[in-house]
Amino acid sequence: MRSVVILVVVFALLMVFGPMLAPYDPTAINIPKRLQPPGGEWLLGTDALGRDILSRLLHGARWSLGLAFVVSFLGLMVGTCVGLIAAQGGRFADWIAMRTTDTFLAFPELIAAVVIAGILGAGTGTLVFALAVTGWMRYARVARGIGLSLATKGYVVQARLAGMHPLTIARWHYLPSLLPSLTVVWTGMFARAILGISALGFLGFGVQPPLPEWGTMLLDARIHMRSTPLQMIWPGIAVVVSVLAINLAGDALRDVLAEQESP
């Protein structure tokens, strides 16, 4: 548990302060020094345009992890709202909200994101939109499920009978009970968002060059697989280690919550 916390903190710090540690400008082109091997002046070598790979990886953390944070947070907001509307709004609102959720779940999320980002035109804005639109449904299902179980609890019934506004009930009675489970869902969606951003970047529908996003870097590196295979290793390791850290944090969080619920 402690090692997981340390790992997550390290990644959060990297996301915020990583670019300051970068020895070079991540977009500075230096053709004479292209495709340098690791070691020496360039710790992880240089890419096909002579850009320092370490600097690009460090700056890339802000794109890959930062955008994943934004995407998963937007999904959390939208999904929680939809779930609460379904749980509080009566049978008709519930039906509409849940069939909308089913519709968005009717399609593999990443493929839907590829189609949306591809058709609307590649770019950072459409990338965030595409992944957020396809990434809110799990929050909605969890929020609705817990919301329905709360609706029959004495204090919620009394609040409703006392004429409390549904939004006030949502804020003071629903949200506190929802937060632990939603946080667990959020860690999973954060990890998925990192994978989604790198996959879309790799297909050319995500963050556009010369910006240093890890998936986009892999797309560049793939062409030079024969001459400089190591160039392809670093961004992949960055993705795997960050996804692994977040998944482990999610598992640990779930265990802690499960222990609290069944003492």
Binding site: P108, S198, V239
Partner: protein, 312 residues
């Protein structure tokens, strides 16, 4: 049971209508003049306004949203997927050709994934907490975190570039399918191992198992008759998610290995802004996905009678 089935089928119908509407709305709001891009792709030169108007009328772009939606949907309902806006060829035969590459790859990957994950989960749960168990869990956790496209590139690097054992690009021979299938199968195996393992551990906590053991029923029979069916329930519920995972992996894996399957079909159609092809893939995938999930739902309900309407 019939009432529940009817309700589920009604839901599937509503969901498919929603998918069609969302797909059309997306195409309707695509930036740029679609008529212009069609003309560019088809003729390769600057065309006159009359030609553009002709293309607009041909594709139904000049009417309102709902009229255009109906004009778009009605041939699809009749099973006519139209022609490619770039090549003018009918979409359906090309789609089926792509499918003939994708379906076998998906099934083989799923089979290999099961062949790896079931024994691994059984070994892991023989002694929970042992080094074998921890090793299997660690392996699966790393496997889940590896993006399919990177794993594919690593396998190409090792087996095609460094060792030269297997071909990497194309789909000419059976050997060409080995690396893509392995890439997908390892991802499937990683996530299934975790689920099967926790399913077995959960199933072993059932309160009546000690009673069976004391009655002298052989452990082998208990495992077969009481642990395995219980462990199967969570596995069946996540099969839908597993299928989604597999389809997502297929898209990138086919692009990496240059296989002419559905994934490459979709990505190339998006690059070319060939919208009839894009919508055909999207709708076909949605229909398959919804039907499979419907089947899983029905199986799940017949396995677990505790499920009732509103908890679904």
């Amino acid at each position: 049971m019939i009432r529940i089935a009817a309700d589920l089928i009604l839901r599937a119908f509503v969901v498919l209508t929603g998918v069609a509407l969302a797909t059309f709305a997306l195409l309707w709001h695509a930036p740029g003049d679609p008529a212009l891009s069609i003309a560019e792709a088809r003729y390769g030169t600057v065309v006159s306004k009359e030609v553009l108007d002709f293309i607009r009328a041909e594709a139904g772009f000049d009417t309102g949203f709902w009229t255009a939606f109906w004009a778009w949907l009605s041939p699809l309902l009749a099973g006519d997927f139209g022609q490619s806006s770039v090549t003018g060829r009918a979409v359906w035969p090309d789609l089926m050709t792509a499918m003939s590459y994708t379906l076998p790859l998906a099934l083989v990957s799923l089979a290999i994934g099961l062949a790896i994950s079931v024994p691994l989960a059984l070994i892991a749960t023989r002694r929970p907490g042992s080094w074998m168990d921890r090793g299997a869990v660690a392996l699966a956790s790393v496997g889940v975190a590896i993006p399919a496209f990177w794993l594919g590139l690593l396998l190409i690097l090792l087996f095609a570039v460094q060792l030269g054992w297997l071909p990497a690009m194309g789909a000419d021979t059976r050997a060409h399918a080995v690396l893509p299938a392995l890439t997908l199968a390892l991802g499937v195996a990683a996530s299934l191992t975790r689920i099967i393992r926790s399913g077995i551990l959960e199933a072993r906590t059932q309160v009546f198992l000690p009673a069976f053991r004391r009655r002298g029923i052989p452990p082998r029979n208990i495992a077969r008759d009481h642990v395995a069916p219980h462990a199967a329930i969570p596995v069946i519920t996540v099969l839908g998610l597993e299928l989604a995972f597999l389809l997502e992996g297929l898209v990138v894996v086919e692009v990496i290995f240059a296989r002419p399957g559905l994934g490459s079909f979709l990505v190339n159609a998006i690059y070319a802004r060939d919208f009839p092809k894009v919508q055909a893939v999207v709708l076909l995938a949605a229909v398959i996905f919804v039907i499979v999930n419907l089947a899983i739902d029905l199986i799940y309900r017949s396995l677990d009678p505790r499920m009732d309407g509103r908890n679904a």
